[in-house]
């Protein structure tokens, strides 16, 4: 698709014009109990025309990319911008869309066509068979989701960006039942194994090994004790740290949210604009980075959807809040330093502030030392439930699987582990951070935000972390 030529053909009276074309296909293959449930490919292909008129941006998105349709879309956008300008929340200039040229290709070894639909189905069927380690396993699921995305952006002030992504999610899950007791165990939680990677991700040995462990742990949970109630030490595995970082660090630090854009939907934030550079968000051990350059992490990229160049930045350093998760528009509106995270879910949604890759940097405590330092506590793995208030303060999260720690040693498996807390005090109780050897990368394709609603991909990497004085509780 030659976007530059299309832009040259447009006849638009605007201070700035941008064209963003997205062509994305998502293939889902899903097997339940050894039987195919889905062999689906969805392809979404369209263009967003964005204009700046009288200080107001407006957009029009079209699934038809011929010049007549794009011209019509541009005229709609111009009319909408002009009508909206008297009510603008901010009078922008084209400085909100920097000039950028370049490209990005996500790292991968094997392209999608290197493995056939039939071969993937066979792999998933074998995964289901491997998950069924016992008659007590009543349901097995295995899936592979492959996304190919090509994103192009050109603008009247000279931007020309091409970014190509290949992403794979794999997942397996087993339900075990013994009378009224039902337990579910999955491979690191719902779709957490999502990376920028090729078909090498569908490694049979790794998938079968994981499936066997998932099946065995599902059965193990049937006879496990319920998680105890009480205030105690809590170690979170990286596949739960992902959710903890996402909900209690990522969302509250989105600048558009702090500015109130999201108040009618996901909510506001306990963080205020004057907190940047000052607020003690967590203990000295807390170092959070926005890092779009981590190979294979799900939300790596070179430019955001406004053309800003994406670079690694400390968001929180030694516990102190440094900068927000806001693209150039939010930085202009707030006068707070941000990052290149102005992103849209597709061609039919306008970019907003999204967190992308947000990671907790490793510390220097080996995992064995994390465990041995706990007198009475719980080690929780893999998210299964999440809920947090509209200011991102009061959260309650549940996990699939846990271990009891007594006098520095893991003693028992626990089921139905949950914990709750308040974000700022929880992070200030961060007592130890695992070392680089324990650092793991996860991601999710399912982060929802915005009006109109958008689902976007985010990545989170972290070692296991130890928190003190956490309210922990069990099930029924």
């Amino acid at each position: 698709m030659n976007l530059t030529k299309l832009l040259d053909q447009l006849d638009v009276k605007a201070d700035w014009v941008g064209l963003r074309h997205v062509d994305e296909s998502t293939t889902l293959r899903w097997v339940r109990d050894g039987k195919p449930q889905a062999n689906d490919r969805s392809r979404s292909n369209g263009i967003m025309v964005e204009v700046l008129v009288d200080g107001q941006f407006a957009y029009a998105a079209s699934s038809n990319v011929d010049i007549r349709s794009v011209q019509s879309a541009a005229e709609i956008a111009v009319n909408m911008a002009r009508a909206a300008a008297p009510y603008s929340i901010h009078q922008f200039t084209s400085a909100a869309r920097p000039v950028a040229t370049g490209n990005f290709n996500s790292p991968h070894q094997q392209i999608e066509s290197s493995i056939s639909a039939g071969e993937i189905n066979e792999l998933l069927i074998r995964s289901c068979e491997t998950l069924k380690v016992s008659e007590k396993i009543v349901s097995t699921n295995a899936l592979a989701r492959i996304v190919n995305s090509e994103q192009l952006f050109v603008s009247s002030n000279g931007s020309n960006i091409e970014q190509q992504f290949l992403m794979v999610t794999t997942g397996s899950m087993a339900v075990a039942q013994d009378g009224p007791v039902v337990q579910k165990r999955s491979d690191s939680g719902m779709r957490a194994r999502s990376w920028q990677i090729g078909m090498e991700s569908l490694d049979e040995n790794r998938m079968m090994s994981d499936s066997r462990r998932v099946g065995e742990e599902a059965v193990e949970l049937l006879s496990a004790e319920d998680c105890p109630d009480g205030t105690m030490d809590l170690i979170l595995a990286p596949d739960q740290m992902m959710l903890q970082i996402h909900e209690s660090v990522g969302h509250p630090l989105e600048i558009d949210r702090i500015l109130g854009d999201e108040r009618n939907y996901a909510g506001w934030s306990f963080v205020r604009l004057n907190d940047f550079g000052k607020l003690r968000y967590g203990s000295d051990l807390m170092n959070i980075t926005f890092d779009p350059g981590v190979p294979h992490e799900l939300a790596s990229y070179r430019f955001d959807d406004g053309g800003a160049k994406a670079e690694r930045e400390y968001i929180i350093k030694e516990g102190i809040l440094q900068r927000g998760l806001g693209g150039i528009e939010s930085q202009i509106r707030s006068d707070v330093p941000g990052v290149a995270n102005f992103r849209a879910s597709s061609w039919n949604r306008a970019p907003i502030d999204r967190m992308a890759n947000l990671n907790l940097e490793p510390g220097d405590t080996p995992v064995d030392d994390l465990i041995s330092s706990v007198e009475n506590g719980v080690y929780m793995h893999s998210n299964r439930s999440w809920s947090i208030d509209d200011y991102r303060n009061k959260f309650q999260f549940g996990c699939e699987y846990a271990k009891l720690i007594e006098n520095g040693k893991i003693t028992k498996t626990l089921r139905n582990p949950n914990y709750r807390g308040i974000s700022n005090s929880f992070w200030n109780n961060l007592k130890a951070v695992g070392d680089r050897d324990s650092f793991e990368i996860y991601g999710t394709p399912n982060c929802g935000k915005g009006e109109p609603n958008q689902v976007i991909r985010v990545g989170h990497a972290s070692p296991p972390c130890l928190f003190s004085n956490v309210e922990v509780f069990g099930g029924e």
Binding site: P36, R43, A61, N64, A73, A83, N264, D390, N453
Partner: protein, 450 residues
């Protein structure tokens, strides 16, 4: 103002032509369903009574479900509106599916397209033009702090299959879903929705919300975690009911051990006789046909006076487990739930509550224990502490964590006599057409935990 739109009929014609071309190209052993989703939508995002983002989305896609020799593959692709181009694109995708299908394992639970049913619904409204809406919506907002989303335009759903089914549903609709915020950051939530724009009704509705916001001016009351007498208004009840679409009333989730309702089926546990829930399409607001072109009964009793009567059963699940389908969507979620009203007049709610908590809205719900039916979430917006039937002031937001076996069970004291329609204003991928109709509920105990 638009009361007629030249686009009306164009998408339907496109779909019919496409279906005709594609079905005529099928081989004898091939069976195919086509579903269309399209919208022409204006979205204007508002913050502080000012426009944050504004735009227009013209989107159209078709979903193909191909069955050959007990094997099935599906696909969707974006349509351009150019019939020649779109027929070629869909034909190309169909050919790709034809190549893929032989590689796939046999699927014993395939549901073949069946029946020769037709339906046609096309509702034309009185709508605002995209570039006139700001001057209609915004002036009255200049004195208030309002954040929200204006979504307006026409939404289309179509289905056709190789057995002969043809269904069409198109409707104009608009919604301003908003939060009004006061200086203490207390908020009132409301939605002004419909399909015939009336400026005076809009302004009256907004004024009513502004009056409601004034009730939040008094100082917040901090309440301690504990169990409280509680009234949950219709919008909050809708949030609770919507949880039943997720590991809830799906027959498949029941069969695979993942449903929160397992106890009701396996242990004969019942809920309160005051609680009845049905899937009900009789109001005509939601398409009654699913992605396979099957038409649900107008009304399916799910829970009747506290007893589990049925789950949502797709034809696929029915085939797998030897049941009768009630033509739910394949993912067996609630599309048009209606909860039965009770006898408590809305005007008597505060008196009946006496001393306790009045909750207008809930936020960010999730299962905290599926087997136990426990749901956690937050209170949000206009939530009050009430003493002896009088509102004393807004409460600070609280987390709740309680089981529906309690709040739709023994703790359900009364149900209001009036129900509200709560439209789903969700816009993930496209504008939703679903809704939840339900009354408010009075509980003798509700667990607030943090």
């Amino acid at each position: 103002m638009v009361s007629n739109n030249s686009q009306i009929g164009k998408i339907e014609k496109l779909f019919n032509q496409l279906a005709g071309e594609i079905f005529s190209s099928l081989e004898a052993e091939e069976q195919l369903s086509l579903s269309l989703q399209a919208e022409e939508s204006q979205f204007t995002r508002i913050n502080g009574g000012r426009i944050r983002q504004t735009g227009f989305v013209n989107d159209c896609s078709v979903y193909l479900d191909l069955v050959v020799d007990n094997r099935r593959a599906t696909a969707s692709l974006t349509l351009t509106g150019d019939i020649g181009f779109d027929v070629d694109a869909v034909q190309g995708e169909l050919n790709r599916l034809r190549e893929e299908v032989p590689q796939l394992p046999e699927d014993p639970y395939i549901v073949l397209p069946a029946g020769v049913e037709t339906s046609h619904t096309s509702k034309q409204g009185v709508m605002l033009e995209a570039d006139e809406s700001t001057d209609k919506l915004l002036p009255v907002l200049q004195a208030v702090d309002l954040s929200g989303i204006w979504a307006s335009g026409r939404v289309y759903r179509g289905n056709a299959n190789s057995a002969g089914n043809r269904h069409w549903f198109a409707t104009d609709s608009f919604s301003l879903d908003y939060s009004l915020v006061n200086a203490k950051e207390k908020m009132v939530k409301a939605t002004f929705a419909g399909s015939d724009w009336k400026q005076d009704e809009y302004e009256q509705s907004l004024l009513a919300s502004i009056e409601k916001l004034k009730m939040l001016d008094s100082p917040s009351i901090k309440i301690k975690p504990g169990n409280y007498r509680t009234f949950i208004a219709s919008a909050g009840v809708a949030d609770l009911l919507n949880m039943f679409s997720w590991d809830g009333l799906s027959e498949l989730s029941m069969q695979t051990g993942e449903s929160a309702f397992l106890k009701m089926r396996n242990e004969n546990i019942t809920l309160s006789p005051l609680f009845s829930l049905a899937e009900d399409f009789s109001n005509g607001l939601v398409p009654g046909f699913n992605e396979q072109g099957e038409v649900s009964p107008q009304r399916i009793e799910l829970i009747e006076r506290g007893e589990l009567k049925s789950c949502l059963i797709s034809s696929r699940t029915a085939k797998e487990y030897g049941l009768d389908s009630n033509f739910a969507e394949e993912s067996e979620y609630l599309r048009s739930p209606v909860m039965a009203v009770g006898e408590l007049p809305e005007a008597d709610v505060l008196q009946a509550l006496g001393t306790g908590v009045y909750l207008s809205n809930l936020h960010y719900l999730n299962w905290s224990d599926v087997v136990g039916g426990r749901i956690t979430g937050m209170t949000r917006y206009a939530c009050f502490w009430v003493e002896d039937g009088e509102i004393k002031g807004p409460i600070e937001n609280m987390r709740f964590d309680d089981s529906f076996y309690n709040f739709f069970g023994d703790n359900l004291e009364a149900v209001t006599a009036e129900a509200q329609i709560n439209p789903d204003v969700g816009t993930y991928e496209n504008r939703s057409l679903e809704m939840t109709e339900c009354p408010g509920i009075l509980l003798n105990s509700f667990a607030l935990t943090l």
